[in-house]
């Protein structure tokens, strides 16, 4: 019986469409929250752009773990920094997420909501006391119970400033601004004295800037954003003054952390936040700047500096829960974190580690000064970025802030719009 072309085409389309019904479904079972069994088997461990500089360190950690737990084998994979979230989302959607994954709190949140991150309050609560209380809480998700990643390394950093540019503007290079009022006053003076040639800041305010300024970012339930309150409007109004006076770089509206770092390197802006890692960079790439570098504390109205938290989560669908939990804990335990901190300018999240002489004793170098000051400030630091604040929300806030700075909207209107858009996205996240 002849089959019509139309019927053949319909069958072909149906054959293609029908499998799509299963596509995206992540309900493929597997995994257990019980980590008490024997630690054995193969686990995959994914890091975030660490192989290039720390290959021997991680190979050593893996070899020690395999020696301590005979019968285990860890396969280490590393992904580049660029597109890391996309890689994780592709793996998560495709059911190929590694057993142990290096994450930040904002990456954990959607994975936990999709049931892909193991609740460590159930599977590994015995390790909880080994970590700083705030760090352990860093991977909790509003609206959910549980903790979804082991805290790994922390980072924070000072504010760098260019002493020469301060001096040229008639400002005391040894008296950098310590409060927001001083910062705004110095920035306006710098712009005026340099005839708009030198800006003090290169970035528009981000969610963490609002947090540091003392703006309440979310309600207690974590169900709505609140950064459009009077304090938020006050901060944005100040930034608008800076932008109009060219005290905020004209390209700030499209700047990225990398591009503003470059502006600071080329001495086009006078201040930039950074970390101890940047000092080596200044020394190598801009020796003139390095000679004139000033280092001061992050400016906050809350008394708590901002910190970045890295974590290590366990895939809830892993077939090797005991081995995966054991390895995630092993990588993040006090001994491993301390030895990693000595390789690179990061700070351990394990209880008591920051009291080690390495983080408390000065040796007269700038690197140590930055490290000791950062370690001290980390003891009561806060990760201001809400874990539910997605990339799309960051873009919404950034675009509304830009509209306010351009004068297309008032600061109040801009923040109201940003909060409305972020709340809508939050509701869609579910």
């Amino acid at each position: 019986m002849p089959i019509s072309r139309r019927a053949t085409a319909a069958a072909a389309v149906a054959a293609l469409v029908l499998p799509l019904g299963a596509c995206g479904s992540s309900d493929d079972g597997g995994g257990s929250t019980d980590a008490s069994g024997k630690v054995e088997g193969d686990v995959t461990f994914q890091t975030w752009n660490l192989r290039a500089n720390f290959k021997p360190y991680f190979e050593g950690v893996i070899a020690e773990f395999e020696k301590q737990y005979p019968g285990t084998r860890v396969k280490w994979i590393d992904q580049p920094a660029e597109g890391y979230a996309d890689k994780i989302s592709a793996d998560a959607a495709g059911g190929t997420l590694p057993d142990v994954v290096n994450v930040s709190p904002d990456l954990v949140a959607p994975l936990a909501q999709a049931g892909l991150a193991l609740d460590l309050d159930k599977a590994a609560v015995k390790y909880r006391k080994e970590y700083l209380e705030g760090a352990w809480a860093g991977h909790r998700i509003p609206g959910m119970t549980g903790t979804y990643a082991f805290p790994w390394y922390l980072n924070t950093g000072p504010l760098f400033y260019n002493k020469s540019l301060f001096e040229e503007a008639g400002l005391d290079p040894d008296q950098p601004p310590r409060t927001y009022d001083e910062l705004f006053a110095d920035a306006l003076r710098m712009a005026k004295e340099s005839d708009g040639e030198v800006a003090t800041l290169a970035n528009v305010p981000t969610i963490e800037d609002f947090g540091r300024y003392g703006v309440p970012l979310m309600n207690k339930e974590g169900t709505a954003f609140t950064f459009n309150d009077p304090k938020g409007v006050e901060l944005l109004t100040k930034y608008k003054e800076l932008y109009d006076a060219k005290a905020l770089d004209p390209q700030a509206l499209t700047a990225t952390p990398e591009s503003s770092g470059k502006k600071f390197l080329t001495e086009a802006v006078a201040m930039n936040p950074g970390s101890a890692l940047d000092l080596g960079n200044f020394k190598k790439q801009a020796p003139n700047l390095y000679r004139d570098i000033g280092i001061t504390d992050q400016i906050t109205s809350t008394g708590h500096v901002n910190m970045y938290v890295m974590g290590v989560m366990v895939n809830a669908r892993t077939k090797r829960t005991p081995a995966a939990v054991a390895f995630a804990h092993y990588v993040t335990d006090a001994e491993r974190q301390m030895s990693f901190a000595k390789q690179v300018a990061i700070f351990p999240s394990t209880a008591g580690s920051l009291d080690d002489p390495y983080f408390t004793e000065q040796d007269g170098t700038d690197e140590t000064r930055v490290r000791v000051a950062a370690a001290k400030s980390l003891k009561n630091a806060v990760n201001y970025t809400p874990v539910l604040f997605s990339e799309q929300m960051k873009t919404e806030l950034r675009n509304e802030v830009a509209k306010a700075l351009q004068g297309k909207e008032s600061p109040q209107e801009a923040l109201d719009n940003a909060v409305r858009a972020c709340d809508r996205l939050l509701a869609q996240q579910g």
């Binding site: 799509l20 992540s26 989302s89 959607a93 700047a255 086009a268 873009t395 675009n399």
Partner: protein, 298 residues
């Protein structure tokens, strides 16, 4: 005769052999073109997210995009991109091809030089242009030296879009030049000679001989460049940044698809609806170009 008998014998014994031979191509096309295409169509009618399977929501995504300011910004920018880039990419490479068509000593160097941007990585090209157009970059330093003052190529929404268009044209010149060179090679020299004998100057010969002879190539270039321009991503992304310029005002439709649909919280359903719109507009663009050509011929 013998070979046709052999073919018939193979067909009788292995009736599926043509399909077997075509299978690798069909599989690749199915997996990488048809499947994603149909998948996007299906997703456009769901509220699917990266990690959450979608439910059928009918036309909700399309209704939402009609009320999405960023969609209209993207549509405006992508349309402006077509209007700005396509005329330049239809005309300039033709002039360039006429220039390098002549067999004069050293012309190979110029042909290669004009083609170099085509093979250069768009990321490298984008970063170089960002460096050139920066407030303190080479171009602004030159402008300042001659007294024009600094121009905010990368901070003004319109200048940013125009700068990105200039990069697209600069990068595409060599590619379309090669297409025109092939077409010009088929234009009979006698036509030019006859026109010259009749007293036609260079401009007249260009209008009455060259343009009609390469008109179908111009249509092809117009169609290809308009589709590419409407789907622009890299140039604008690299120059305007991930947020799409100041307040996102330089966002193009494809940038919006990327921003909306990727990441762990990506709205795959909504981004698919946007992709469907991009697809429909590009098809319409192609049809318009082809129809204009047909009308011209008749």
């Amino acid at each position: 005769m013998a070979s046709s008998t052999a073919v018939s014998r193979v067909r009788r014994q292995l009736p599926a052999s043509p399909w077997l031979l075509a299978a690798p191509g069909l599989l690749v096309t199915g997996a990488f073109i048809l499947y994603p295409f149909v998948s996007t169509l299906v997703n456009a009618f769901t509220d699917r997210r990266t990690l959450i399977p979608g439910r059928f929501v009918g036309l909700a995504n399309f209704r939402e995009l009609l009320h999405d300011d960023m969609f209209w910004t993207g549509l405006r920018n992508s349309t402006l991109y077509v209007l700005g880039v396509v005329p330049a990419l239809v005309v300039l490479p033709l002039l360039l091809a006429l220039l390098v068509q002549k067999n004069i000593p050293g012309i190979t160097f110029f042909r290669s030089a004009f083609y170099t941007p085509v093979v250069a990585s768009i990321v490298v090209v984008g970063l170089i242009w960002v460096w050139l157009l920066d407030e303190r970059g080479l171009i602004n330093s030159l402008l300042e030296t001659i007294g024009v003052g600094r121009v905010g190529f990368l901070s003004d929404q319109w200048l940013l879009l125009i700068s990105a268009m200039a990069v697209t044209v600069w990068k595409g010149l060599g590619y379309y030049m090669i297409i025109y060179l092939a077409a010009l090679g088929n234009v009979p020299r006698e036509l030019h000679e006859a026109a010259a004998v009749d007293g036609a100057g260079a401009v007249r010969r260009f209008r009455t001989v060259t343009v009609p002879a390469v008109r179908s190539t111009m249509v092809l270039v117009g169609a290809l460049s308009s589709v590419a321009a409407f789907k622009v991503f890299s140039e604008v992304y690299l120059m305007a940044g991930p947020s799409g310029g100041p307040a996102g005002e330089d966002t193009t439709l494809v940038m919006l698809v990327q921003r909306t649909g990727t990441g762990l919280t990506g709205r795959v359903g909504y981004a698919s609806a946007l992709s469907v719109v991009v697809f429909v507009v590009t098809v319409v663009l192609m049809l318009l170009v082809l129809r204009a050509d047909r009308r011209e011929r008749t």
